[in-house]
Amino acid sequence: MRKTMVTLLGMMMLAALLLAACSNGGSAGGDAGGGAEPVGAGSGGANGSDAANGEGSDAGPAEKITISIYYPTPDREDDRKLEDDKIRRFTEQYPNVEVVKSDWQYSPNEIGIKMAANEAPTLFNTYATEGKFLAERGWAADITALFDDYAYKEQMNPILQEQFILDGKVYGIAQRGYVTGTVVNTKMLRERGAEVPPLDWTWDDLLTTAPAVADPGAGISGIAPMGKANDAGWNWTNFLFEAGGEIQAIEGGKVVAKFNSEAGAKALDFYKRLRWEANAIPQDWALDWGDAVGSFAQGRTAMVIAGPDGPVDQGLNQGGMSPDDIAVYPMPAMEAGGAHTGVLGGDYLVVNPNASPEEQEMAFRYATFDYFSDNFLTSLEANIQARKDDGKYFIPPVIEYFDMESAFGQKVKAVYDKFDNVYQYDPASIALMDGKPEAQFNTQDYYATMTNVIQEVFANENVDVQAQLDAAAQLVQTEFLDPIEVK
């Protein structure tokens, strides 16, 4: 028995060593060869093409190719219909391109596996935080050449597009964006006798309004700051920014964690007061984006912090609220006269670097197929009409891929004005919003670390805020930021 065990163990160790030796060189060589070439070749392909201008003036590739594209999930029926229509029109124009639908939604936890298994779609969606991460890992194609040839590149909204331009190279195409705000159920406030705060509100106003509307015994909270997953760190970062803090800074070629500053302590102390002084957050505060926004739509919390279109959509279309019951506020300023800073975020489309040059080009053309075109306006109108027929509201993005003041923006506005089921943001509120981009390096790791700190603040009344922040900053610094060398 012992002999057999020893032999078996020995064989396993030997196999492990052999595989380690093989996979070292083999994998590195193979993967580098397979993965690096298309990126470079992709750019070459784009350079070689005269037609990568987004207008689709030619018939596309001579040979039959297949691209897989980001496709809405089954619950978004209207969006799926629009996408189907776009696929039909695109394949009519490019008959040699077969478009395969992929309803995989980007997740930072899944992208590694998708790229490793070469299963990521040719064109996939992502968020504003991910640009640097994807580019550094080699998981987003360098589409600079395609973008340079794009006829409407000057008209892309720079606030959004610039977040995916790194060191002069373009890694993504902006779709829509937002400045994080606070969505308020004003009806609930009025019914519970809480004063509706002014748009130019402050932390003190929030600290007065939230407990006034909360009823812990009935399971109703004043505000639901997210307390689970990376969403918690993301939510809190708004307060860090309002207090004038930074997540990180580049000093002497190194990235240095900065969120344990005085501003960070003020922001975290504000969370502590919201939880323990005001008792205004949900008792089961372990809520991620879906839980918190769902809680808002169900009327179990009066306020939620998010990109405004999400909670407004859920409140109106699922919670049965009326547009008069909801108000989009900017994030509260720390003090009167301060900036209403919120995290600037958005949705982007990224081209898979493992795709062939032709596939990359066609994916780019697909992404921009309807941009700045009458087709976009027709499709938008049909979408709003379909929602009207279903008794639903259309919630426009807070920031579009184009500038709303441009000629094209005015055409879009004209479409919106035709319908009464398009949610209209209060221009006074939008004017107060001050968008600040997220950190460039290891943002998700920072969020994950801060989530633990926030959970400690929500769970432990006697927590030492500064000590927690210092420990978190040290962890982020040593684990994630120290290995980075800024070029």
Binding site: M12, A15, A16, L19, A20, S23, N24, S27, A28, G29, G30, D31, A32, G35, P108, N109, E110, G112, I113, M115, A116, R137, G138, W139, P216, G217, A218, G219, G227, K228, A229, P282, Q283, D284, W285, A286, D288, N354, Q444, D445, A448, T451, N452, V453, Q455, E456, F458, A459, N460
Partner: protein, 306 residues
Amino acid sequence: MEHIAAEVRAQRASPGKSRMAGKLRRHFWGYAFLVPAIVVFALFLWMPIVKGMVYSLQHIDFVKGNTYVGLDNYRTVLSDPVAGKAVRNSLYYMALCLLIGFWVPIGFAIAISELRRFQGFARVAAYLPNVIPVVVLYGLWRWLYDPIGPFNALLMKLGLDQIAFLTNPSWSMIAIVIMETWQQFGSALLIYLAAVLTVPRDWYEAAEIDGAGVWQRIRHITLPSIRHLIVLMLLLQVIGTSQGFQSQLALLDGGPNNTTMTYALLINKYAFTRLDYGAASAMGVLMFVVLGLVAIVQYRWQAKEE
């Protein structure tokens, strides 16, 4: 000379060869039927185990290629303070599962075996939670644990304070174990019930004639009769719960502040949040070694008992 040596070699080899061939011929279909199982095991069990060992010595980058880093991944894991906390959490979780969950199916199996009527219904009713999809399970128990859910409503009716079952660090792991016990005790119950029902009825009758009550019958007949099964189930539960992470991930994502961060969940976080597959593999190998030792203890114990 060479010719003679070759003949001697052939003579020596042939009896073995023919014996092998004979064996193969006789048991051909037996071996043939083994092939699919061996292939499945090799592809989906043995190869991942060996690959995990390999990856634990490498920095994994599926796109740019892997690089050999020696024991760096092990150093990373062993110097991570959360790893220590995760080990303690896993041990706490395993202990809670034993304390709260282990005796439940035994108790129910014995109770159901004593039922004269509705035994079939009781079996189905007890097993039913096992077939609930986990998504529904988590939704249901979030509602049960809600600050205004049924449990808290009952507590408030009794004049007690609400309990934040999921977000109070003292309660979060307990809440998860209660939920899992409710869902999973049914399958263990069926196994125990089968064992209890094999105990000869005349033993009970003889005990009854001797004046033994229900508790004495359970203590002196039922429990000793299913002793081996109880120990086996105990070891299987220890191995099973040491790898637990699903509920912790789905309900609390390891929070509040890593209170429900189990070892297996941390492996998951290393792999899929930090995308550090090398460190995750190193954690997996360490776990493999520990669980392997537990399995050897179990095997030795079983062999000794037999």
